[in-house]
Amino acid sequence: MKIALVGNPNCGKSSLFNVLTGLNQKVGNYPGVTVDRKSGEMNKGTNYASVIIDLPGIYSLYPASEDEQIACDIIRNPKHEDHADVWVVVADATQLRRSLLLCTQMIDMQLPVVLAVNMMDLIENPDQYFNFQKLSAKLDIPVVPISARTKKGIDTLKSVLSKAITPSRTRILKIPEGLQPVIAQSKVLMNTEKEYPAYQALITPDDFLYLPEETREKIKALSPLMASKELVANEMLVRYDRIDLFLEDSLRTVTTQAEKRTLILDKILLHPLWGYFIFLGILFLIFQMLFSVAEFPMNFIEMVFGKAGEAIGKILPEGSMFSHFITDGVLAGIAGIVVFVPQIAFLFLFISVLEETGYMSRVVFLMDRIMRPFGFSGRSVIPLIGGMACAVPSIMMARTIPNPKERLITILVTPLMSCSARLPVYVLLTALFVPDIKVLGGIGNLKGVVMLGLYIMGFVMALLVAFVLKKMMKYQSDGIFVSEMPLYRKPRWQNVGITIWKKTRTFLIETGKIILVISVVLWGLKSFAPGNQFEKIHQKYEQLAQNPANNPDSLEMEKSSELLKASYAGVIGKSMEPLIRPLGYDWKIGIALLTSFAAREVFTGTMGMIYGMSESVEVEDDEQRKTLTERISKEYPPAVAFSLLIFYAFAMQCMSTLAVTKRETGSWSWTIFMLVYLTVLAYGAAFIAYRVALMI
């Protein structure tokens, strides 16, 4: 049996879903859109096993957003794979009047409906306020008071669901006799026996996306004047009149402690001064967590993978292509995916706590006016700040932005924020041309100032690009911005845990696939050479090794340097030279650019390898950095380093970001657009930087 949960946003629907299914959940995507499809199993392994589907939150059956459209499609289309056998309408006990709007629509859809009145734990002496028996009789559907938080009433709900549920015999909306001929025609076109959906299709034909366009046009032609928002508004007014009668001996809305607390808290959290202080404090905390605390588990993961690589290398036949493929290709690729897990988990920990408590909608309230001119949503602040740590979880976060245009803009500019992976490259390159001068009376260092400048430059560029994109994408009207600010409440840690777990898993599986493929390809480019080039190099060094005068370690390094130059990566790097000449780069930097497409932090390692140092150049290691800095500075003027720095600040050199962008936008075109615009931007800016630096 299939059971669907429907209800307003913030009615505790997801909590009920978590209580009913535990960890037996699956999260996917509805095809073609970035709306989570959540389903799970209840009573697994018993006779009463059923599939629970948690539909996106809706206020009514007249959708106002992409999520709501999906939920309405499922409810209206009897052939949709998620169209359920039983529908549980989840209502908020403190907002019963409003919650019943959707419930009365579901009843008129002639679907088998159960009303679960949630959040009963917030109401003291509920018997004083509600008469659920009477409500149940009037609506002709089962009504079950529950609390997903305290799990009260859940068993009753389960036992109600285990019995057969029949559609209510009541009709709430009376459709005028005069419309019957048109309704009858609409029914035929829609292939339904039901009156209400046929009426809905007449007044909002464009929302019936599940019907073929041809059918929609025919319905529209039946009575063109009926397609109007006025009739929707009239219907809602009629429903509220009926609801007020249903609730005559129940309370329509209950003033709770939570509401009083919210009013007081908002006085502080939305204060023109303190509100921003607190928000900045929270941002700082998130930033710290992503930047410094996440580093410990990240280092640990790198160490584990390093050790695992060594161990596997020992088991497999030494020096064989296969063991090389496993350790350097596959394992390194997996390590590159797993290493993001701590940052993703931390970011989603914070985000889901902010969402759970209700604070996120306050962020929107505070930031909306400031962010709007740039084409952002108030919610874009979090992904942008998160982008300073890592663009990957930040782009996943953008999903919480309801307006598709604002979400797309946020995703497209987030990679411009200087992420933590750029830091080692910045450190290495600033050392090449910025003198070690104390500034601000000895407190600061000029290098630090340049570094800060790079972060600011990224942020300003993100604003500029967003502004241009906003002007370019005129396809959507801004519409009405009316939203609910939910009451503050304690986070439900089970929901938080499940969110973190689901997001991390989605990243590992969905994005991981793409990352793995690209790392294997890049490994292939580095590990193979045209013709028998590699054999010749191997032979040459075998002969050199015969001579005891040569140091075997330095020979080994020179050999890997030569191998890299001869490989396909080297060949491509060389053929790229004419293209990157104008920026002051030669083929060596070309190889570094190519290999750091996987991840920009690879730059230092590749440069190290080209200069015959060991591949694991640690920028944190002063000694190694100095050696590399000296070798590079011997060959390149400071202008090249400056141009490279600007290039790295803007360029798209992170396949994980591309992979996650593909997943979140669901479109290769936008992903390629992102890659192209960032490359053009980086190229242009680096070109200007190089020319200007040469003149100085």
Binding site: L101, M236, L263, D266, R369, V482, E484
Partner: protein, 75 residues
Amino acid sequence: MNTRKLSELKIGDTATISSIETAEMQVALMNLGVLEGDKCKLTDIAPLGDPIAVLVNGTKVSLRKKDAEKVWVKT
């Protein structure tokens, strides 16, 4: 009785919603349980004066200023 726009209220003012200008706006507000005839209280105004938040029937609703201009209230 004084009729004015919702956007003209000050923090702490209470009023009764007398009319909502467009059907689109009516639907958006009715989705949140806000109807003509309901009492409302202006609780917060964001810096720069936009958006604003009103408390209606126990629901806090935030609206952009240009939308609040479509709602008429009696004080």
